[in-house]
Symmetry: C2
Subunit: 302 residues, 2 copies
């Protein structure tokens, strides 16, 4: 097979409460990534604002914008100018009282090639996303672009093998995760280490199980909740893995970075030829994946 | 939550062409594991024989035995004598021309508590399992024992998140994988390293995605195909992971080992409380997991 080289970039940075400054940072990073050869740039989750879900505040829905809207149009214009595919992450206002955590894909001609509305929504202390984000209703559908078919998912989706699999079954060439995840500063160091490695490992597992390269772009910096109830140390560590889950590039925990990596998209098929998991899936025996819990199995023999 | 301690053992060893010697080794290891405190012992895949699937030879079906049969009854008797739960792996003769790769679970009273017939069957050069093993027809059903509900899967199942998920949804307390996997000696060292780490990583990913401890028991030693067509260096590295995918214990690549580890089964619920993935699964949007491929998605927009 002939190599199919693609240079990708992940933009990892801290976010301030100055949204205009964040947008300027993102736009400058897109220019730099392109100048360094990237043809696909993945931004982190909700890159224009602090991670505002640490408290539940109805006023914060003001941060949302329609898509298309001013910010998506500006990003699309920049994609067109730079001739680069951009995967961005926006707080989408769909209707009053109806908002989504939405990844948007701009093709290198600037066209809004597609969007993905975060399907799995977390909710735990400091991450009150179920208040802000209506669960996605567009399913797990990859987006075709000039550089390939992009299986874009968002953050909490990272923990669900089902999401990655559905993207792979729909022909995704890459899995991409904008994300915002960090440590509770109160946690012990060993717990922090387990959490970081679990986050990396479960995603590497998706790369392996599906024979696909995977990109995860996370933010950095400490952000304190507006009401002082807590804070999050976003752990960075944005990374790029190959289709055997091997780490190709990884950003540091605390520093901004434009992580650039050339990947060979043809290697996915080489790997799938030696590990043909798609051939052997037991689709005749997976029905219960559509259930919440297999309760009868849990009481059988008792 | 009160800790629920369970001491487990994994028996990693080489297999010779002398089946009686292999059985004696297994039986002695069960005694030693019990003497060292194990209440649950996991054996490796097809522990009584060499890995006979390197060639396709109809005569090798002679290695299979019915279950119950002489070997399963001997293992059950040993489980009863030692008062230990045993997960073994046998070549099951179900009918002439109908054979399975079957894991058997003996409760500590020696009773055959249940069996699992390998559902995903590999077939690639040196691993001609589709010739020998009819795909399982018992589904993904865990087995209740005195030490917990055991989600027993086998080898190639390791690569399929669906299998682990279905066991978790059925209330499994642990995931267990008897396995026989190794390197092609012709492969480059970096490819070998990627394969080993992918094998470990995808399984750690199952532990994480399901919030469950996971045990994987692999064989060691180099075995040459009877026709000299190739050989496999079984890579050992049997391991025990916790519900965040953290490695709790790991065996070496080349030496026999009885790997003993105390695990706290209550930690799985603690982990699931901070990472409640089962709460957030999008069962309304997983239908296409039952399909071979989402072909229409792969042609949309083209």
């Amino acid at each position: 097979m002939n190599p199919r080289s693609l240079t990708v970039a992940l933009v990892q940075h801290a976010c301030s409460s100055d949204a205009a400054a964040n947008r300027r940072h993102v736009d400058a990073a897109l220019r730099e990534a392109r100048a360094r050869g990237a043809r696909l740039v993945l931004l982190q989750e909700l890159h224009d604002t602090p991670y505002f879900c640490q408290t539940e505040d109805p006023a914060l829905f003001d941060l949302a914008e329609p898509i298309p809207g001013p910010r998506s149009e500006a990003l699309g214009a920049l994609a067109r100018e730079l001739e680069v595919v951009v995967v961005a992450s926006l707080f989408e206002r769909r209707a009053p009282g109806l908002y989504h955590n939405t990844a948007v894909v701009f093709d290198r001609d600037g066209r809004l090639a597609g969007r993905y509305r975060k399907m799995h929504i977390p909710d735990d202390p400091g991450y009150y996303e179920k208040f802000y984000f209506t669960p996605g209703d567009l399913g797990f559908t990859p987006v075709d672009t000039a550089v390939g078919r992009l299986g874009v998912l968002v953050c909490w989706d990272q923990w669900f093998p089902e999401a990655a699999r559905l993207m792979a079954l729909a022909g995704a060439d890459l899995l991409l995760y904008p994300t915002a995840i960090g440590w509770d500063p109160q946690d012990e160091e060993d717990e922090k280490a387990r959490q970081l490695d679990a986050w990396r490992t479960v995603q590497r597992g998706h790369a392996i199980a599906n024979g696909l390269p995977l990109l995860a772009c996370n933010r950095i910096g400490t952000e304190t909740a507006p009401d002082g109830s807590g804070s999050i140390d976003f752990w960075g560590h944005s990374f790029i893995a190959g289709p055997q889950g091997e780490i190709l590039a990884e950003a540091p925990p605390n520093d901004p970075e434009i992580l650039i990596q050339e990947i060979d998209l043809s290697r996915a098929e080489q790997v799938r030829r030696i590990w043909p998991f798609l051939r052997d899936r037991r689709i005749d025996a997976y029905q219960d994946l559509l259930r919440r819990y297999r309760d009868e199995a849990t009481t059988k023999n008792r």
